[in-house]
Each structure stands twice: as C-alpha cells, then as structure tokens.
Symmetry: C2
Subunit: 334 residues, 2 copies
C-alpha cells in the first residue's frame, strides 16, 4: 500500500470532522513537509482537500476518476482480490492485460481497471461498448486450485457479488440473468466475461472480466441498444461514485470467491437463485449452434443450469445465451 493510499484512507476515516496535521503526519509516517508534497499531488489529481490552521485536513470531494491508490484506500484489507490494483487510461481490453499478467506468473488477486477500452469484449468475442470515464471495466486474475468445472461457480460468485454491491450502493434491485448478466428493470446494466485456462483436471487461471454501465446517459448508448441497456445513473436518476462502487464490488467478490474456495457454493447458490430472473421460466438457450428449450429449474453443484426439457429430462448446461420464452396471450392490450 502506498503513502497516497494511506493518506486518503486516513482522510476518509476522519470524515467531516477532519484530522489535525500533526495526527495525519504521524499516522502516515511523514514529516509535514513531505506530507504537504503528497497532498499537493492529490490535489493536482482533483482531490479537494480542505486545510486550515484550526481545521486540520478534510477530504471534501474525490474526483470522478479511478486511481489505484484511492481504490486501495477504499477497499481496505481483503483476502485475495485487490492486493495489486492497476489502472490504465486506455487499453484494448482489461481481460487481455490480465491474460498477459497471468502468463507472466503474476499472483492471483491482481485487478486491472481501464478508463476506456478500444476492444472491450463481451461473451463469444462480441463487442462491448466502453464509453470512456462513464463505466467500470475491470478484470481480476484468479488461480483457484480446483477442477476446471469450477469456472462456472466463479462466474456465479461474481454475479452474486456484483448484484449485492449494486444493491447496497444504489438501493436498486438488480436481477441476475443466468449465467452472467445483471439486469435492472429488464435491461442489461452489467456483464461478466469469464475466461478459463486449464489442463484436464486443474485450472491454470481464471480471468473474471466485469463491465458495469455506471454513469452513462441515454445519449451514450447507440440507438439500437437503448431498449436493451441501462446505466445505474439512468435507473436511479442520479450519478454514482464509480470508485466507491468499484471498491464495493471488489470487497464482495473477495468474500464470495473465498466462499467458493472453502466449498461454500451451496449458500452462494441460494442467494443467487433468490435474485435470478431466469429460474422458473421457460427459456430457449443457445449453446453454440444448438438451441435448447425448457424450463430453467435450478443450479447444479458446479453452477451449471439444470433445464427441464419438454421430454421431461434434465439437461445440464454450463453456459449459453438465454432468451425468455414469450407465451403469446393474444390479448390486444399487449
């Protein structure tokens, strides 16, 4: 953890009452002169840090930017995720960056954010739009010492953590669309792209890429997406602090990943099922070239979806594109 991260954490802990210069110096282990230099740097980045002889130091406002030290200061101590945070102003895709780190034997838990992605990806190589500075696009490197099938559990954990973080930070009611989308009012607000590198019986690494549409306005979405996509800002009517949301998501993800590792997937699956908009519905799932129709019944222990087909048997599906079946009502009002 850097000095800047410690300064921001001390300021945040002090809150509105502020912290005396001497106390802050001592807490972060800097002489006043050195502390002053650090504060100037932070001010230069846009951190509005008030100071005065009787006032001490007070953080009035953080800029709307992703800053690794700040993210660290907000995140606090975690088990695995976020021990190493890197922020890029622009990259092709954060999953690409993390893949390179994974091949260079970087330890699990590293998180890479980008303010803009030039080749953001959704599932199956689909393009993912990343309006610069408006959303959160980040990827996490994990190295669970588990069988490859667990990749689905990790995705379920990420979706649960992401939904929980959005709920606590916004009071919106996100729904999970199996396996990897977060919907608000039926429109997509966030997505997860899990990529796996494995041998037959062991994971080499899993990359969990998360994209959240946070502060976009309708004008930020191309016309063809406006009915399908929504930002948290659009859903709640006011903008959101991206860095605070990012820290909340990482903290929840750290919790839920630990649950997966210690075999606690069942409790996770219960929470997931309670928020899932897919279960209990008749759906069509596109798996590669194949379309499978049935009723989404539940998750199996590995996180795969169990689908009851019209012939009555259960199909186990580890991933795919879900469409809810529309039962035509022939009611002219619809």
């Amino acid at each position: 953890v850097t000095t800047d991260a410690e300064i921001l954490r001390a300021l945040r802990t002090a809150g509105d009452s502020g912290i005396a210069g001497g106390d802050l110096s001592q807490e972060v282990g800097l002489r006043p002169r050195a502390l002053h230099k650090h504060l100037e740097t932070l001010r230069g980045l846009g951190y509005d840090i008030e100071s005065g002889p009787h006032l001490g130091y007070r953080l009035r406002r953080s800029p709307d930017l992703l800053h690794a030290d700040d993210l660290h200061s907000r995140l606090g101590k975690t088990r695995t995720i976020g021990r190493d945070i890197r922020v890029f102003q622009e990259t092709t895709s954060t999953n690409d960056v993390v893949e390179k780190l994974a091949r260079d034997q970087v330890k699990e838990g590293v998180v890479v954010f980008a303010e803009a992605q030039t080749r953001g990806r959704g599932r199956l190589g689909r393009k993912w739009l990343s309006a610069p500075g408006k959303g959160l696009w980040f990827s996490v490197l994990l190295r669970p010492r588990l069988q490859p099938e667990v990749a689905t559990q990790v995705t379920i954990a990420a979706a649960t953590a992401l939904a929980r973080a959005i709920r606590t930070e916004t009071e919106l009611r996100p729904e999970i669309k199996w396996p990897n989308d977060i919907l608000i009012g039926g429109r997509k607000a966030a997505g997860i792209l899990t990529e796996l590198s494995a041998e037959l019986d062991s994971v080499k690494y899993v990359i969990v890429g998360i994209g959240v549409d946070v502060n976009q306005t309708p004008a930020d979405f191309p016309p063809e997406l406006r009915k399908l996509a929504v930002s948290l800002r659009m859903a709640r009517g006011q903008p959101l602090d991206r860095a605070g949301l990012a820290a909340a998501i990482l903290r929840q993800l750290d919790e839920d990943y630990a649950r997966v590792l210690r075999g606690g997937f069942d409790a996770l699956a219960d929470e997931w099922e309670a928020q899932c908009s897919t279960l209990g519905h008749d759906v069509v799932i596109q798996v590669g070239p194949r379309k499978i129709r049935g009723r989404a019944e539940s998750l199996d222990p590995s996180g795969a979806l169990l689908l009851r087909t019209p012939h009555g048997h259960l199909e186990r599906i580890s991933g795919g594109d879900v469409t809810l079946e529309r039962h035509e009502t022939h009611d002219p009002a619809f």
Copy 2:
C-alpha cells in the same frame, strides 16, 4: 503443399520401381533443371535419391529427421490436422509455440514439432524429458466449436488415435492409462497434455501436446525413470522410422477428431475402453489435493471417468493421477 513435399510424395508412390525423370517433372510441374535443384536440396538433407539414365529416380532411404515437407508428403490429405506443419530444431515446449499461434488467430489443424524441447512439460507443469532426435514431441491446435467439457473427449480421442497408430506401426500392444498415458508392458511410452482455453460455454482453443519415446535406448533415460519409462525401440527391439510414425499418428488423430466433432464419441469410447488398463481396477486417483479411491467403472459421455467409491456411489472425474491399488497376495512368489 510445397514442391519438395510433392517430389517426395511422387517418389514414395513410385516405390522401388522408381519414376522416370520426365514423368516426375510433369507430375510436380517443374522443368528438369529446376527439378534437379530440388533433388539436390533433398539429397543435402540426407534423402538418398538414386538416379540413372534407365532407372529414373528412386527414393532409397529417408534420413531420421523431421522435415515439414516430408511429413506433408507422408500424411497425404486430411480433414483438419496437419494442413500446416512446422518443425523446430529446438523450442521451449511445442505447447508454448502453439499457444502463441492460437492467440495470433491461426486456424485449427496446425501441428508444431520440435527435435528438442528445453522445457518440455507433462501434466501439471511436470518436466518431460525430450532426448533430442530420439522421440516425437509435437502439439496440435484444435478449435472445436463445442462446450469446454469436450476437452476430455478430445484427450480420449488423442489417446485412442495414438494407441492405434503405435499398434499399426509397431505391432506392439499399447495400453491406455486413463486419461492420457500410453503404456507398453506397464511402462510409459507416450503421454498427452491437453490444454484448454475457454469461455463458460465455448472453447476458444484446445492444444493437444503429444510426446512419444520412440528411439531412446535405456541410457537415454535417467536411472530413476528406467523402471517407469520405455521407448518403442526398447519394447520391439529395433529402431523405428519417426517420420512414418508421426504421419500415422496425425492421420489417426484426424480421423478421431472428426468422430468427436460429429458426435461419434460413443464408438470412440468403446475402442478406448477395450485398450484401457485402468477400467475394472481398484484405483486411487489424486485430483489436486484430494485422493479418491474406488473401482474405475467406465467413461461417461463427456469422457470423464466414473469411479465407484467404497460407499457405492459413482464419482465423475475429469482428470487426475491414477495409481492401481495393489492387492497384496502374501504369496512369496510375488
């Protein structure tokens, strides 16, 4: 296919009777002068090509080396595998090379051979010894448009193809040890390392790495391996044409991969089971940190091993280290 590959193929087709210079010129589409230059290059590599005014051209002997054009000429036409063959004199590991090609969007079917590997790998990052020029070490890039679970089917297909090729080329009786070893007389002669890159519901690519101990003598193995490993040469008592075996393996692999793609895994599994030294035995399987004991019963449709545990239920295992349980007989003769 290159001109050298076409020349070698024409010479092989002609066999001992040889082919007249004019016919060879015409068949490969070269004027005599250009043909002569190509023949000189091949002779320089060690191909013993006899020629004479009445004799025409005749291939008397091929050198013991892996040459992409020659491998092409021996392989003939395949559906997928070997459309592109590359031979390295030395590399870290052929799986590494193919992984780079995969990320560069190279099409499936490319095969990379190396005469020597400086960091040959077995499963779980274990070291694999690759005595230069004595064995076959190669990797194949596949892009099956299937779910990630199919990686196990691809490994089963590779083991079946490898065993069949060894049987037809040597008349030895290879046994398959689930999931990825080929044994002869209880000692390991070949292995398969399958690496998978995937999203939840779709394979990005599978790399099948194959290592075969072909012409090693006991002195080529370190003392601690001599009881565990064997080369085909040691097992049959005479050296083997490596390039011929390589072409046979690729041809069989091409067949069996096509069977997997068209959903014909059941027939493949039957053939596999008939040669498997694991099924029907009490085994201990190490899966990551976990040891699972039971009787190996059969393969499930995805290629995973079904193990009947002492409590009577079936465990599905996608990969692991198998040890046969020794039932002590207390017979002093054993």
